[in-house]
Symmetry: C2
Subunit: 100 residues, 2 copies
């Protein structure tokens, strides 16, 4: 019961999180190279350096933005990205109360 | 030779383009569901609605931003995205002359 009270007192904010995982510069990107060749074949000249990464979006409940960022950094390290080959960009935005 | 003059007169700007392709709401996303289950199993509670999309980055030479956007819209339609199942977000930013 104490636990329930404790939980009820914690303010929880919902954050919209975007994690962009992309290959580090210098790592070969065959998917990007294929897209680049196809675009050139379709007549889109002037397209260069195509790189394909992942855009992972989710919502996260956390008490505040610092704690949300810490959690996202940790879950990138443990699951979403391979730090040897990939770079990560994290965007964390508190959802406004108007958007349920 | 006339062609070369013509080409020399055209101002060309380099744009950094980011195309985010994501599944439309309601379309099943097994990759996102798997990540969500794994994160929960790793102890990250409070993570919901995981969706995995593609983040495609490239550079594009175009005379101006409007023309760059038109080209990107067209190449999304013709190659990068499936409009039946996917939504697209396009970000186009002119590269500053300081960044070669």
């Amino acid at each position: 019961m104490g636990g329930a009270c404790e939980r009820a007192r914690l303010p929880v904010v919902t954050f919209d999180v975007l994690v962009e995982v992309r290959l580090r510069p210098g790592i070969a990107d065959p998917q990007g190279a294929t897209i680049e060749r196809s675009l050139t074949a379709l007549g889109f000249v002037g397209v260069r350096d195509v790189r394909v990464g992942k855009a992972i979006r989710f919502t996260l409940d956390a008490p505040d933005e610092a704690s949300a960022r810490d959690q996202v950094t940790e879950l990138c390290r443990r699951l979403l990205a391979n730090p040897v080959m990939e770079d990560v960009d994290v965007t964390v935005a508190a959802r406004s109360p108007a958007t349920p």
